[in-house]
Amino acid sequence: MTRKRRRLYLLLLCGLGLGSATALTLTAFQDNLVFFRSPSDIAREAPPPGRAFRLGGLVEAGSVTREQAPDGRPSARFRVTDGPTTLTVTYTGVLPDLFREGQGVVALGRLGPDGVFRASEVLARHDETYMPPEVADALRRSGHWNPSQGAAPPAGNWNTMAPTASRSGS
């Protein structure tokens, strides 16, 4: 019994030590383990010119203009925002299906001297909300949600929202 107890305590001690070591390491890496940087991060601390990095944020409503590059490939110009700061992005190539105004995107590229982010790759980032088309339509029609303005309201409120919308008549 004592031997088992001793092994258990030894294991708990090892677990405690390793767990706190991992926690400390991860805390130390907190700022480096980012997949993308927001426009505010870049405004606060611009990366060195010419260095590639990932920019993440929402596609600002009404900012997307699509053109055609001289070589015939589609190209797009839009602004990525995180609320307080926005950054203009240009991209030549096919955008992912989920790309739209109000959608989260992560773009890989470089910041030009004119302050325009030239992306070589644009990925769409969707949020954790899933809903049938009818629900999305209902939320839009009732004025509770404009997809181009950002994320949908929490799913827990969907059922209780509809009556207040018809009453306010907005």
């Binding site: 031997r3 294991l11 992912p96 809903m131």
Partner: protein
């Protein structure tokens, strides 16, 4: 060397084994260390477990894959959710089970924990592999890429290598108990990765979206998608458990046969040697 602490799993059944497997105060955990009792109990349980898995999946999969609504922006691609998410939960939950088995193995030297861990890891690796593959197939049309090195995807890849590493390590030794011990230590070290997988989407910014179901507050899914997801998750979990249990039963029986063959060969070789000196 420590065979006195727990009844040896390799002990041949029969009247000669009875006095050796009678500790003064048998702990609850060791009730199933008796291979005969384990095989009898799980032999009755297994058909029910397998039947329940088939029944639940027969309801859940058609519901999820055909009857549930499409997503407003992802369309029919969202149906990958009903495979991807249960596999991710199983890869992580199964690994938590592997860590518990490893504690039972290292602290109480439970012989069945070693066998169960050995048989669990290939199934867990399969679940993790399916999670990665479905995620990749989902990422290409939705995100625009098969793979990115963000914190969630990378930590799940590490989890997959931990599953594979455990499966390989426990089989890499000639003496099974040395492999079991090395595997248990690896499994416990790897358990540190579990909170990283779970909270990677909250601690760091990632391409992968945050949790929709396992989070504080209401799930982010419409109920028309949430219910089939939960039914599918239950069905896959039952199937996972049935698979691991069937494999563990086979391993127990295999080891018993080997012990019986060994004992028979010894009796033929040197009839004067007592069976008590047989090594595990």
């Amino acid at each position: 060397m420590r065979a006195v602490e727990t009844p040896s799993l390799t002990a041949a059944p029969g009247p000669s084994a009875a006095p050796r497997v009678a500790p003064a105060r048998p702990p609850v955990l060791h009730r199933f260390a008796n291979p005969g009792r384990f095989l009898r109990a799980t032999g009755r349980l297994l058909p029910w477990l397998g039947g329940a898995a088939i029944l639940v999946l027969a309801i859940g999969l058609p519901w999820a894959l055909f009857l549930s609504p499409p997503d407003w922006q992802q369309g029919e691609t969202v149906r990958l959710l009903y495979i991807h998410v249960p596999m991710a939960w199983l890869a992580m939950g199964g690994y938590a089970g592997l860590a518990l088995l490893s504690v039972a193995s290292l602290v109480w030297r439970h012989p069945l924990a070693d066998l169960a861990a050995r048989e669990l890891s290939p199934v867990g690796a399969l679940a993790c592999f399916l999670c990665l593959v479905t995620g990749s197939l989902w990422g290409k049309p939705m995100w625009g890429t098969w793979w990115v090195w963000d914190a969630r995807l990378t930590s799940v890849l590490v989890l997959f290598f931990l599953w594979l590493g455990h499966a390989a390590l426990v089989r890499a030794f000639d003496a099974p108990e040395r492999g079991a011990r090395a595997g248990a230590i690896l499994a416990l070290l790897g358990a540190l990765n579990l909170p990283v997988v779970k909270f990677s989407v909250d601690w760091w910014n990632t391409l992968h979206q945050p949790a929709s179901v396992a989070r504080l507050g209401a799930p982010g899914l419409h109920v028309g998608m949430l219910y089939p997801l939960l039914v599918c998750a239950l069905g896959f979990t039952l199937a996972f458990a049935a698979l691991v249990l069937a494999r563990t039963r086979a391993a127990v029986m295999e080891r018993r046969i080997r012990a019986l063959q060994l004992a028979a060969a010894r009796r033929l070789d040197r009839p004067e040697v007592s069976p008590g000196s047989a090594a595990a």
